[in-house]
């Protein structure tokens, strides 16, 4: 054993451990190098041993190891081992065909293991497709993928993070309420008027909810849009498929990623209520006489007696301006030959913008905390067998005030109920709190103010005096997969078997109460004392009740995969798969819904590529649905696709420098949809239940339940069929600086599963029977483009995508209407219909000279409608299609990123257009009559006798809902188009040189704003919520700072 000329003891240690007995000490003298200003001494050659692996931990035999600048080199053996001599400071270069070269400077260690990364050209990159992966070159289905880095914002729901990010995905977030803010997602708009319009969502190949995945544990998100991509899913695929893959382990030294982010949030688009004095003025106007004297209005305005003349802005009293949010994630990823792992932990904490009650221990504000955990491990059992074990889960804790539930038959969320009470109250109904006595120190004791009338509640009492609810949601997902390389049977053949088990449960604990309320009666004219009487006697203690719900799913898959290049030019691939699924809803509303939901099917794919120029693919799904009778249960769903990689043709060679890739592709196929309306099942069975109801008899009114047909079964039901066509191209130019992808699609959906619409009620059936009736067409384009340019010290990236989808009902079970133009058939699904508002009636003369409006007596200032059919009267027969439907026809997103010297800034906009929403409810001033219901500040913008403006937002005020003015019309519809500045992010990546001393590989500091601004013609609330009255919790704006580090 020799001693090194070194102060460092560690190499000795290593030598001892590796058991190397002889190390040549002879200096070559060939290598004298200056590195980082240190003088490299002439070193003796040492023997270096190691192993070369690929990223999956598989050894690479035959890889070259070369000492850079010399002729010394070796080749790895069959197990990937090498032994080479080099001296400290020399550089080893590892190379292997199809992999990126890697260089490593020899240090004091004599054991160097290397993991080579595959050299994936743009065409060879692996793309996630239905039930497998494919080389990018051979993908000829319509698939969009989002760059996961682009969606790493502070958004709870992964669905919402996708909004505007992918061509073909229509994402609409209707509410910002914590825990209930998951948006709706549709692929390429909608193609059916049946109940099921949502895509199939698969996480790691299993049907799962994706909203509570942490974006930091996600590797990729893709959507499958055309039949070629989705046919393998058969009867579930008609509405498209969303594929989410979680991050897997890679063979590398452990890399630790840490993200911490914290910031404030507010609600920029909360509607604004009118103040009490103006409210009283408008009350008088709508009432037609002076109910509030100018003196009373003055007192309301000046606030001199807030108990007798209250003036309360209920939103100000229930909402605070700022709240906060925190996100932290910690991931470790690494592995080697035996096992590879990804382990992640995530934590997020969001608070709502509701006020807290200072008098209670518990908070009345909403709060959500979510813990994510994931451990994806793959273990190489043998050289050809890999076992994947994926376990992921999340725990969501939601704390809300003790409201939310059923009010007069309508179900409200927590925030929804608070909106309900705020909308029902008026600014002058009652003070928030009233003094009800004195304590021993002569300070006022306050009680909640009681509303003036039955049915109303003090919104602040409901927020702060209602107790609280806590909810736990546990989501657990697991999957175990066995991957077997069947090289021994046939080269290129693989087998995969997976079993997954998922469980979900939700526990909701309600600690609720009602608090006492007090009514102000007046003031004693002599003493001036407030006279108060108790109105409702509240509970002293919080009550207790709870709700549970749960579900679980088991899924089994067995898959054979084949991929082989035959000769030089023929690449053939195949996939054959069997799966079944068993899902149980543990909280089903009926016995029939509690039965396991089962699905079963096989899928197959055959691909062929000639010389990477011509591609063909055949996909097949054959699967069944329990909803249809035996014999009609299984369906065959084939799809074909073809592609031409023009840029690989010899004649294209000259152009190839400019246009690097040009691919033209097309597909045609049939997919299905099995879901029955209203989530019903077994459509072929008649279901007997309570029937129309029961009855009571006798002096003691004993009630007897009934029995009857709840549903009449239909024997000849079958699945809905969607014939999808797609044609598109992919273009990559200027060395990848410009990319463009565009597709035209069209789909014809037929045999749509509906409840019969033309059966008159005299048939007397308890519910309209199911049928396969109707046809609908949907077509449009989606496109993605990206421009990137790198400079020496920075770069720029501009990107965008657009989706345009327009559907049309070709036929449906619609009874003929008296005027053909009133038929909904022939229009977009959900197309708004209504009258055309011409303006407001100017005077009695105008009314007399206009066609008679048959909805009730009209006066000047009421809405004047167009007599479409010219019959001299305005009735429902004059309705025409107005506006659009409530699902946007155009969805787009675009953004830009610039970086320079480590600094970067990025913005992202998204928008929707060609969408309309109907107005109603609280939007209509005094819709329940004067004295009930709040008004928005916009109510001031109305037609009055003194100021008869035609451009006023509202017609003449009316006591109640004026039947004439609130017919469905262009006046009761708003344009939901908007452009949102969705994300702004400014960051700085600390230079690696500065980090080397603190053992940090990379460090990023950033500030971002999420939902920063919105631009829309509609100003009263966020149009994306799509409400008719602004009664959805607005989308939060978050302004955060964060740090992201890799160790």
């Amino acid at each position: 054993m020799k001693i090194f000329i070194s102060t460092n003891w560690r190499p000795v240690y290593y030598l001892l451990l590796t058991g190397c007995m002889t190390v040549p000490l002879a200096a070559t003298g060939a290598k004298t190098d200056l590195q980082r200003g240190r003088v490299q001494r002439v070193q003796a050659l040492i023997q270096i041993k190691g192993k070369v692996l690929d990223a999956k931990g598989q050894p690479l035999p035959g890889a070259t190891v070369l000492v850079k600048g010399t002729m010394r080199g070796v080749i790895t053996d069959a197990q990937g081992y090498y032994v080479i001599e080099a001296s400290e400071g020399e550089i080893l270069k590892f190379s292997y065909m199809g992999f990126l070269d890697q260089e490593i400077t020899v240090g004091k260690k004599d054991g160097i293991d290397v993991i080579l990364q595959e050299d994936v050209s743009a065409l060879d990159e692996a793309v996630v497709v239905g039930m497998g992966v494919q080389r990018r070159a051979s993908v000829i289905g319509a698939i969009s993928t989002v760059a996961v880095n682009d969606i790493k914002g502070p958004t709870r729901s992964l669905t919402n993070a996708l909004a505007g990010r992918m061509a073909g995905a229509v994402v609409v977030q209707r509410s910002g309420e914590l825990g209930n803010d998951n948006g709706g997602i549709w692929i390429r708009g909608i193609s059916t008027f049946s109940a099921n319009r949502s895509p199939l969502i698969l996480v790691d190949g299993v049907e799962r909810d994706m909203q509570d995945l942490s974006v930091e544990e996600v590797e990729s998100v893709s959507i499958l849009k055309d039949a070629s991509a989705t046919a393998v899913y058969g009867v579930r695929a008609a509405n498209g498929v969303v594929l989410v893959s979680t991050r897997k382990g890679v063979a590398q030294k452990p890399v630790i990623e840490l993200k911490m982010e914290h910031g404030v949030s507010d609600l920029p688009s909360l509607p604004k209520f009118l103040n009490g004095a103006d409210y009283a003025t408008l009350y008088n106007e709508a009432f037609g006489r002076e109910n509030y004297s100018p003196e009373a209005i003055g007192k309301i305005r000046d606030g001199s007696d807030p108990y007798l003349y209250p003036n309360v802005n209920w939103f100000d009293e229930t909402y605070k301006k700022y709240s906060n949010n925190t996100q932290t994630t910690l991931n470790v990823r690494g592995g080697g030959e035996v096992a590879r792992y990804f382990v992640g932990f995530g934590y997020m904490n969001e608070s709502g913008n509701l006020r807290n009650n200072p008098a209670t221990q518990y908070k009345s504000n909403m709060n959500l905390q979510r813990y994510n955990f994931r451990s994806n491990i793959d273990v190489s059992l043998t050289k050809s067998t890999i076992l994947d074990i994926e376990v992921g889960g999340s725990l969501t804790d939601l704390h809300t005030p003790g409201v939310g539930g059923d009010i007069y038959g309508t179900s409200y969320s927590t925030a929804g109920e608070l909106f309900y009470w705020s909308f029902l109250a008026t600014p002058i109904s009652n003070p928030v709190r009233v003094p009800i006595g004195k304590d021993v120190y002569e300070n006022d004791i306050f009680g909640w103010g009681a509303p003036t009338q039955v049915g109303e509640k003090n919104p602040v009492e409901r927020l702060m005096g209602s107790g609280f609810d806590t909810e736990f949601r546990n989501q657990f997902m697991s999957q175990i997969s066995l991957n077997q390389d069947l090289k021994s049977i046939a080269d290129g053949l693989k087998f995969k078997f997976s079993f997954s088990f998922d469980a979900y449960n939700l526990t909701s604990i309600m600690r609720r109460k009602f608090s006492s309320t007090y009514m102000v009666q007046g003031r004693d004219p002599e003493t001036g004392d407030l006279q108060v009487k108790q109105n409702e006697v509240g509970a002293e203690f919080l009550g207790y009740s709870r709700n549970l719900s749960s579900n679980r799913a088991k899924e089994l898959k067995a898959q054979l995969l084949y991929d082989k290049l035959l000769g030089e030019k023929h690449r053939v691939g195949g996939m054959f798969m069997y799966y079944h699924r068993d899902y149980i809803n543990g909280n089903a509303a009926s016995a029939i819904l509690s039965l396991p939901y089962r699905r079963q099917g096989i899928a197959a794919r055959a691909t062929y590529a000639y010389d990477d120029k011509y591609f063909a693919e055949f996909n097949l799904g054959y699967n069944g649905s329990e909803n249809f009778p035996k014999g009609r249960r299984f369906g065959l769903f084939p799809a074909v696709a073809a592609g031409w990689l023009v840029s690989n043709e010899p004649f294209f060679a000259d152009l190839k420098k400019t246009i690097n890739v040009l691919k033209i592709k097309g597909s045609l196929g049939l997919v299905g949809s099995e879901a029955l309306p209203n989530g019903e099942r077994y459509g072929y069975l008649s279901i007997y239940g309570g029937g129309l109801g029961g009855y009571s008899f006798g002096e003691n009114a004993i009630s007897y339940p009934g029995t009857g047909e709840n549903r009449i079964g239909v024997r000849n039901l079958t699945w809905e069929k969607g014939l999808k066509r797609n044609i598109g191209f992919e273009l990559l130019m200027l060395g990848g600086a410009v990319s463009l992808e565009a597709d035209y699609f069209s789909e014809t959906r037929s045999d749509i599963l509906v409840q019969r619409g033309s059966l008159p009620d005299i048939a007397g059936v308890s519910s309209a029977p199911f049928a396969n009736i109707g046809e609908m067409r949907n077509h449009g384009i989606d496109a993605t483009t990206e421009l990137t340019k790198r400079f020496s010290k920075g770069g720029i990236r501009v990107y965008g995508n657009i989706t345009y989808a327009r559907d049309k009902i070709i036929s449906q079970d619609e009874a003929p209407k008296n005027y053909p133009y009133r038929m909904r058939t022939g229009h977009k699904f959900g197309q708004n219909f209504g009258l055309i508002a011409l303006g407001y009636f100017v005077d009695e003369h105008d009314i007399a000279n206009s066609p008679e409006q048959k909805f009730g007596a009209v006066r000047p200032g009421d809405i004047k409608y167009h007599d479409t059919n010219g019959d001299g009267v305005v009735t429902i027969d004059d309705e025409v299609p107005i506006g659009y439907s409530n699902l946007p026809e155009i969805n787009y997103g675009f953004g830009a990123q610039v970086d320079y010297m480590g600094f970067d800034i990025g913005v992202f906009f998204r928008g929707q257009a060609r969408v309309s929403y109907a107005l109603g409810g609280a939007y209509i001033p005094f819709n329940q009559g004067v004295g009930k219901g709040n008004l928005f500040v916009q109510a001031l913008d109305r037609w009055t006798v003194d100021n008869p403006r035609q451009d006023a937002q509202y017609p003449r005020l009316f006591n109640g809902t004026s039947a004439n003015n609130w017919q469905n019309s262009t006046k009761k519809l708003y344009n939901g188009s908007f452009l949102r500045l969705a994300d702004v992010e400014v960051g700085y990546n600390v230079h690696p040189d500065l980090l080397s001393n603190i053992r940090v590989k990379s460090l990023r500091i950033y500030a971002l704003a999420n939902n920063a601004a919105i631009f829309s013609k509609w100003k009263m609330w966020d149009p994306e919520t799509g409400t008719g009255n602004g009664g959805n919790y607005p989308l939060q704006r978050k302004m955060n700072v964060g740090v992201r580090a890799r160790f």
Partner: protein, 659 residues
């Protein structure tokens, strides 16, 4: 291992082809065969046929009060508000009872066609149950007929695949014949009464079948359907007339005889226990009290006057809506027309000579029963209130407005007028004072809880409250005085809801009899029965001048109906079938004297007069007749429009005239 896996893949594929994986029939579900083999299930199917029997809980679900000329429902979120303003059409879909009745009719056929399969039922019960199904079908058709006019007459169970888009309506008289046929067939297999088996009260019996048939005949005889020239164009697409345009007096005769048949059963079968309700004959005191009798006929469960009703009426909603605000919803408001229709205690109408009616001023003295025990109002407050609630003390108090003085008992039993102590509150001072203004200007908190319906009064309010009667009156009928409407504690839960009581039959009878035999002695006999129970002199005592005069007698019979059956849903149909609902506004200041007309101005007290801060019971400006609403009524509105969607879906079915 590989081979095992491979074999597994292949075999799992094979399993699927012969698969049972999806074949998991919900075998524990009820099936057709299970229902008709089990007695319990078969009976439950019958209750399902019963389930659509009308139950107008608070007349939000049914329009018969809010659209009639006797009531205003104050809530403008109720469809009645818009309908009264003329804001409705076939597409508005208000009060669509068409749909549920046809569902029940279909169920009645299914039941009849299958009940024989049930081996667990005796043949007697099968017969009885079939009779019940027939009765229900006839009853449902009658409801359709009344609300919508000629029905689409479905006489059998039809398959789903039937040509539903080509079912024309059947002429009115044909529908009536079918109903009569159902009633006759049902009657044959039903018992005379359920008095010995009171657990089945609410099932039809022979008397009910006859009474329903009589009601159907009454409609057929009435001017709306008997020779109505306005319906000359009311025809199916093929020209078949749906209403008769030639008057046939025999229809009245048929109707009278049908009603008389019910009366004869009542009179000849004491076991059937059918007679007008009187307190002293029903265990409530030894002396006859007209006030208690008329009040309790709707409150006392299944009393002797109830010919047909349904069990399990949930009156809570009704009591909340009729009891004064603001703690309650207080807004079922009698119109001035019905207030003025109530007789004086001498049996005369208020505007008739010698009635003793005084419009203005406060009464110096109370009525004869206002304080029967001569209690000290201050010292014996609790006993006084208990007397009011029990019905011992009734009638106007000294200091009440003269308009409400010396009226007949039915007035006090059915109407809560301004300043009257609220019966449905306990004698607890705080609870009663809750409904009284107590500031130093208007010190009305004296422990009596007198209802304040004037502007600024507690149950009227002046500001944001909307829960007050727009006419200045509240309905008291059918509200139990023993309820506690401060704490919402209800008594007498689950009582019956009346469809037909003996008074209906008597009134139907004398109305029909008068049309062809106005001199018949039975008119006086049965009319006086009602008057006697109501505690007013016989009609020919108070108004001898009308005797034998068909037109005048008709007026007075309809008015008797208006009073006796007020707030029970009868008035809506009476004004329509008598074809007087479209009587227009007179245009004069005295239009409030108009007896009929569902359109035009509607009158009440001036609930907006005076100053909120200083108004009190002393304030007389309240007692001024003002129009609170101008209703829009057109004769097409005598029938509901058939829902537009139904007309669209069934080409052969014509819409009602004018819609």
């Amino acid at each position: 291992m590989r081979k095992i896996l491979f074999a597994g893949l292949i075999s799992s594929t094979l399993i699927m082809t012969g698969c049972e994986f999806l074949e998991k029939q919900p075998d524990d579900m009820k099936t057709d065969a299970m229902i008709w083999s089990s007695r319990v299930e078969t009976e439950k199917y019958l209750y399902n046929v019963y389930s659509q029997m009308p139950m107008p809980l608070l007349h939000n679900d049914a329009p018969w009060l809010g659209l009639s000329d006797e009531v205003d429902l104050t809530w403008n979120v109720y469809p009645t508000y818009n309908i009264n303003l003329g804001n409705w059409n076939p597409s508005t879909g208000y009060y669509n009872l068409w749909t549920p009745y046809y569902k029940a009719i279909r169920a009645s056929f299914v039941f009849e066609n299958n009940v024989d399969k049930c081996g667990e039922l005796s043949s007697d019960l099968k017969k009885q149950y079939k009779a019940e199904a027939k009765f229900l079908r006839g009853f449902y058709y009658l409801q359709i007929l009344k609300q919508y006019g000629p029905a689409v007459l479905i006489r059998e169970e039809l398959p789903i695949s039937a040509d539903w888009n080509n079912f024309p309506r059947a002429p009115f008289d044909e529908c009536v014949e079918y109903i009569a046929q159902m009633m006759d067939e049902a009657e044959a297999d039903l018992p005379l009464h359920w008095q010995n088996d009171r657990q089945w009260l609410g099932k039809p019996n022979k008397v009910v079948c006859r009474a329903v048939k009589a009601e159907a005949f009454l409609f057929a005889a009435s001017p709306q359907w008997n020779g109505n020239a306005d319906y000359a164009g009311f025809k199916n697409r093929d020209g078949k007339a749906l209403a008769s345009t030639t008057y046939d007096e025999n229809k009245w005769k048929r109707s009278a005889e049908a009603s008389y048949a019910v009366i004869q059963i009542a009179e000849n079968n004491p076991a059937a226990n059918i007679r007008l309700y009187k307190n002293n004959e029903n265990g409530d005191g030894a002396t006859f009290s007209p006030y208690k009798s008329v009040r309790d006929v709707t409150l006392k469960r299944w009393n002797c006057e109830i010919i047909y009703g349904r069990a399990g009426f949930d009156q809570n909603a009704w009591e909340v809506h009729t009891s004064p605000g603001t703690y309650n919803l207080g807004g079922v408001a009698p119109t001035q027309r019905v207030i003025d229709a109530f007789l004086m205690k001498n049996g005369k109408g208020i505007y008739e000579e010698g009635s003793g009616y005084v419009e203005e001023g406060f009464a110096a003295q109370g009525g004869s029963n206002w304080n029967p025990r001569s209690l000290d109002l201050a010292a014996d407050r609790v006993r006084m209130i208990e007397d009011i609630r029990s019905g011992e003390a009734w009638g106007h108090w000294p200091g009440d407005w003269n308009m409400y003085a010396n009226r007949e008992p039915r007035f006090y039993a059915f109407v809560l007028y301004n300043k009257r102590p609220i019966p449905q509150l306990p004698p607890d001072i705080a609870k009663r004072d809750y409904f009284s203004t107590g500031n130093t200007v208007v010190k009305q908190q004296n422990g009596y809880g007198r209802v304040e319906l004037y502007y600024g009064g507690f149950s009227r309010g002046s500001g944001a409250s909307t829960f007050y009667p727009r006419t200045g009156y509240l309905v008291l009928k059918n509200t139990d005085p023993q309820s506690n409407m401060r704490d919402r504690v209800y008594v007498n839960i689950g009582r019956h809801f009346t469809y037909i009581r003996y008074a209906n039959v008597l009134l139907n009878y004398i109305e029909a009899l008068n049309e062809y035999d106005p001199g018949n002695a039975n008119i006086e006999k049965y009319w006086n029965m009602i008057r006697e129970r109501a505690g007013v002199p016989g009609v020919f005592v108070s108004n001898p001048e009308i005797r034998g005069n068909k037109e005048l007698q008709r007026e007075y019979i309809i008015k008797e109906r208006q009073i006796e059956l007020c707030f029970e849903g009868d008035r809506y149909y009476t004004t329509r079938r008598r074809w007087v609902a479209h009587t227009p506004d007179t245009g004069t200041a005295e239009d409030y004297k108009r007896k009929y007309g569902d359109g035009g101005r509607f009158w009440g007290m001036d609930i907006n007069a005076g100053e909120a801060g200083t108004n009190s019971f002393e304030y007389t400006g309240f007692y001024k007749r003002v129009a609170f609403e101008t209703r829009v009524f057109d004769r097409k509105m005598c029938l509901f429009p058939i829902p537009q969607s139904e007309v669209d879906k069934n080409f052969e079915m014509v819409q009602n005239p004018g819609w």
